[in-house]
C-alpha cells in the first residue's frame, strides 16, 4: 500500500508539472521577476531615463534673483530626492520666444521668467510643454517664494550669513526609550519592503496554488467517476495523503523555483550592465543595511527557520482543508464557491500582516498570530516588529500541529464519504453523519 501512496503522489505531481501551462506560467514568472529587477534598464533601453533630470532655464530680468533661486531650487530638490537634485539649472539670456521654441523641442525643459514687481518683489512666469510633475512644481513654488523672502530680507539689510541661518533646515534628532521600537511609519515600511515581498506575497500565492491544485485534482477524479476505480484499488486514506503530499511538494518546488528566478534576475542585472545599487535591488539592499544596522539580522537568523516550519505546517493544513472540501463537492463550480471562505481567511491574515504596525502593542494582534491558518502570515510581520517572540511562534506551531491532527482525524471521515457522494442535497447532514461514525 505504501508503494501505491508514492505512485499516486508521483502521478499527481507529474500531472501538474508535465503540462504546458506549468512551463508557460513559470516562464512568465521568470520574465516578470527579471523585468521587475531590471525595470530601470528596460526603461532606459526604450529611450526613457529613470534619472533624467528636468532642465530649468531661468530668464532673470531682475539681475539679482538667479543665484538665490538656483541655489534654493537645488537645495529644496535635494531634500525631496534623497540628497540629489532633480534639476539641471541654466541661466537663459535669449528671448521668451526663443525659450518657447526650445521648450517645444524638449519637454524636459522648464522655463522660468523672473521680472521685477513693485508690490510683490518678484513676478514669475513658468513655461512648460505639458503638465509638470506635482512634486517638481512644489519644489519650484517653495523655492520661488523663499527667494522672494530672501530678496525681501536682503533689501532689509540683513546680512547673507543671517539669511542662510534662517533658511537652514533643522535636523530633528530622534531617540527611542525602547531600542527595538521604531516609528509606525518605519515599521510599516519595513513590513512592506522586507516581509511582504519575501514572505507574505509568495506564501499567499503558493497557498492559493496549493488549494486550487488539490481541489481541481480531487474534483477531476470525482466528476469523471475515475474515483470509483481508484478507490477500489487504494484506500481513501492513501488517496487523500497522496494528494496532500503531492500538493505540498509542488508548492515547495514552486517556491524554490521563485528563489532561483530571483537569483537569475539579480544575475541578469549584472550581465545587462545594471548597477546593483539602484532600482529594486537598491531598495532591498538599503533595507537589508537598515535591518543589519538595527540588529534585526541576528533575530532573523533564528526566526527564519521557525517561521518556515510554521509555514510548511500551514501549507499542510490548507491542503487538508482543500482536499476535504473538494471531496464533498460534486463539480468544479461548487468547489470554487467553497474555496471563497478559505481565500477570505487567507486575505484576513494578509491584511493583518500588512497592517501589523497599526496594532502595535495590542493583545488582539498577538492573539491573531496564534490563530491557525493565518499565523504563518501574521507572525513574520510581528516578529520583525519585535511584537512577538519565538515563544509565541512556538505556540502557533503547537496550535497548527493540533489543527492538522484534528483535520486528519475528522477530515478523513468526511473525505471517505464525500468522494463517493455525487449528490449535493443534504450535504451537511452527510458530513455530520460521517463525523459521528
Amino acid at each position: 500500500m505504501k508503494s501505491k501512496l508514492w505512485y499516486l503522489t508521483g502521478v499527481s505531481l507529474k500531472r501538474k508539472i508535465k503540462t504546458k501551462w506549468f512551463a508557460i506560467a513559470n516562464i512568465l514568472l521568470l520574465i516578470a521577476i527579471i523585468g521587475i529587477v531590471n525595470i530601470d534598464n528596460i526603461i532606459n533601453f526604450f529611450g526613457g531615463d529613470f534619472d533624467e533630470k528636468n532642465k530649468l532655464y531661468i530668464v532673470d530680468n531682475t539681475s539679482y534673483t538667479y543665484d538665490t533661486l538656483a541655489n534654493l531650487v537645488t537645495t529644496t530638490s535635494e531634500t525631496y530626492n534623497d540628497g540629489e537634485s532633480n534639476f539641471e539649472i541654466k541661466k537663459y539670456s535669449k528671448t521668451k520666444e526663443e525659450l518657447k521654441k526650445e521648450i517645444e523641442k524638449d519637454d524636459k525643459i522648464i522655463g522660468l521668467i523672473v521680472d521685477k514687481d513693485e508690490n510683490n518683489y518678484l513676478d514669475v512666469t513658468l513655461i512648460s510643454k505639458e503638465y509638470i510633475d506635482n512634486i517638481d512644481y512644489q519644489i519650484l513654488n517653495t523655492s520661488i517664494n523663499n527667494t522672494k523672502i530672501n530678496i525681501a530680507l536682503s533689501l532689509s539689510n540683513i546680512d547673507k550669513e543671517e539669511i542662510n541661518k534662517i533658511y537652514s533646515a533643522i535636523d530633528i534628532k530622534r531617540e527611542y526609550i525602547d531600542e527595538n521600537k521604531k516609528s509606525e511609519e518605519e515599521s510599516q515600511s519595513m513590513i512592506m519592503t522586507t516581509v511582504f515581498p519575501f514572505i507574505i506575497l509568495p506564501f499567499f500565492m503558493l497557498t492559493t496554488i496549493l488549494i486550487q491544485m488539490i481541489g481541481a485534482e480531487v474534483n477531476d477524479e470525482k466528476t469523471t467517476r475515475g474515483m470509483e476505480i481508484i478507490i477500489s484499488n487504494v484506500s481513501a486514506k492513501t488517496h487523500f495523503y497522496s494528494k496532500v503530499i503531492a500538493g505540498n511538494t509542488f508548492v515547495i518546488m514552486q517556491g524554490l523555483l521563485l528563489l532561483i528566478y530571483s537569483a537569475i534576475a539579480i544575475l541578469s542585472r549584472k550581465i545587462f550592465g545594471g548597477s546593483l545599487n539602484s532600482g529594486v535591488v537598491l531598495q532591498v539592499t538599503s533595507i537589508a543595511k537598515d535591518v543589519m544596522g538595527n540588529d534585526i539580522i541576528n533575530k532573523l537568523l533564528y526566526t527564519i527557520p521557525i517561521v518556515l516550519v510554521l509555514m510548511l505546517l500551514t501549507f499542510v493544513a490548507y491542503s487538508l482543508v482543500a482536499g476535504i472540501l473538494a471531496s464533498v463537492t460534486t463539480n468544479t463550480e461548487d468547489f470554487q464557491q467553497l474555496q471563497t471562505p478559505i481565500m477570505i481567511v487567507l486575505l484576513i491574515g494578509y491584511y493583518f500582516a500588512v497592517m501589523a504596525s497599526n496594532f502595535e502593542g495590542s493583545i488582539f494582534i498577538r492573539v491573531m498570530s496564534y490563530i491557525p491558518f493565518i499565523s504563518a502570515i501574521v507572525s513574520p510581520s510581528l516578529l520583525v516588529l519585535g511584537e512577538i517572540g519565538l515563544m509565541d511562534v512556538g505556540i502557533s506551531i503547537i496550535l497548527m500541529i493540533l489543527t492538522i491532527y484534528l483535520l486528519t482525524k475528522y477530515g478523513l471521515k468526511i473525505y471517505k464519504v464525500g468522494i463517493l457522494n455525487y449528490s449535493s442535497t443534504g450535504l451537511w447532514k452527510k458530513m455530520l453523519k460521517a463525523l459521528k461514525n
Binding site: T224, R225, I229, S232, N233, V234
Partner: protein, 298 residues
C-alpha cells in the same frame, strides 16, 4: 466463486439493499437487473469494497473483499470512469499500476487489446479527444486489462453501434469461456437475455425475481403466439386464457396465460388463410416489466 450472502446496506435510515444473496461461479455470466435506484450501484460498490456492508458477507474465492482481492476485479461503470485529460496509454498505466501490474505487462496487454478493438492508432491520444464509442472501448479495455477473475459490467454497450456491440459480445463470451465470473447489468433486456443464464431482478433493494433464465421463463408461464394471416381478432379475444391481441406491422401477437390455451387459439384460426403460427417464450423484458410492475402496484 463470488458469494453474496444476506447482504443488507443502510444509508442512515434508508435501506438501499435488503437481504441480498446470490452466487456467481467461474465462467458464469450473471445478470443483475433493476430500474434506476433499485440498489444495483450500491451492490457493485459493496462488491468492489467501496462501501462496507451493514450486514451480511461478500467473498471472492472464499476471501473477504480487500485491496488484494480488488486487484483481481474489473469494473466498468455506467458513467465514464476515465480521466479524460490523460492519453489512453497513460490511463492504462495508471489503472494497471493501481491493480498491481508492472509497466511492461500493462503495455503488452494494452497493445493486444487496442489491436483487438481496432483502436491502436489512439494509444497516445487524449481520451477527451476520442468519440463516445471509442471512449467506451477504452473503458472496457481498462476494465479487463488485468485479466480479472471477476468482471462487473454496468451498461457496457452504452454509446456503441451494432458492429461494436458484436465486438464486445464476442469479448465478453471469450472472457466467460476462459473462466472469468461476469456480472452484467443493463436496461436492454435483449442484451441480458443473450448472455445470462442466471439473473436477479432488484427493486427498491429487494429481490423480486431470481434464478436461471429458462426456469424463470418456464415458471412465468405466459406465452406469446405470433400469427401471420387473416384472423378474426374479436373471436380470439373471447377465448378463455387469451390476455391480449395486438396487431403488429404485418402479424398479430396473442398473449396467453399458459400453453394449454394454444390449442384453442389454433382451432380458432386453422380454417383461415394463415402463413405463420409460432408459439414463443415471453421475452425477459416482458417478465421484467411484469414483475417490477407488480411490485410497483404493491
Amino acid at each position: 466463486m463470488l458469494k453474496v450472502e444476506n447482504v443488507t446496506k443502510y444509508y442512515g435510515d434508508f435501506k438501499a439493499v435488503d437481504n441480498l444473496s446470490f452466487t456467481v461461479n467461474k465462467g458464469e455470466i450473471f445478470g443483475l437487473l433493476g430500474v434506476n435506484g433499485a440498489g444495483k450501484t450500491t451492490t457493485f460498490r459493496m462488491i468492489m469494497g467501496l462501501l462496507d456492508v451493514t450486514d451480511g458477507n461478500i467473498t471472492l474465492d472464499g476471501k473477504k473483499i480487500d485491496y488484494d482481492v480488488t486487484d483481481k476485479i474489473g469494473f466498468l461503470t455506467e458513467e465514464r470512469s476515465l480521466l479524460t485529460k490523460l492519453s489512453v496509454k497513460e490511463q492504462a498505466l495508471f489503472y494497471g499500476t493501481l491493480k498491481g501490474m508492472n509497466k511492461n505487462k500493462i503495455l503488452q496487454k494494452l497493445d493486444d487489446l487496442l489491436e483487438e478493438f481496432g483502436i491502436s492508432q489512439y494509444k497516445n491520444k487524449k481520451i477527451k479527444e476520442l468519440s463516445k464509442g471509442n471512449q467506451q472501448k477504452v473503458q472496457f479495455i481498462m476494465a479487463i486489462i488485468n485479466d480479472p477473475s471477476l468482471l462487473i459490467l454496468d451498461e457496457p454497450f452504452s454509446g456503441l453501434d451494432p458492429f461494436n456491440i458484436e465486438l464486445f459480445k464476442n469479448k465478453i463470451t471469450e472472457l466467460s469461456n476462459s473462466g472469468s465470473m461476469i456480472i452484467f447489468s443493463s436496461h436492454r433486456m435483449e442484451h441480458v437475455e443473450l448472455f445470462c443464464k442466471k439473473l436477479l431482478i432488484l427493486q427498491n433493494g429487494k429481490t423480486v425475481l431470481q434464478g436461471e433464465l429458462d426456469k424463470i421463463k418456464e415458471k412465468y408461464g405466459k406465452k406469446n403466439i405470433l400469427i401471420k394471416g387473416d384472423i378474426d381478432t374479436k373471436k380470439i379475444e373471447k377465448i378463455e386464457g387469451v390476455i391480449k391481441v395486438t396487431e403488429l406491422a404485418n402479424e398479430y401477437e396473442i398473449k396467453i396465460n399458459d400453453k394449454t390455451v394454444v390449442d384453442d387459439v389454433f382451432k380458432a384460426v386453422k380454417n383461415n388463410k394463415i402463413t405463420k403460427f409460432l408459439v414463443e417464450e415471453p421475452s425477459l423484458n416482458e417478465i421484467f416489466v411484469s414483475k417490477v410492475g407488480e411490485n410497483y402496484e404493491k
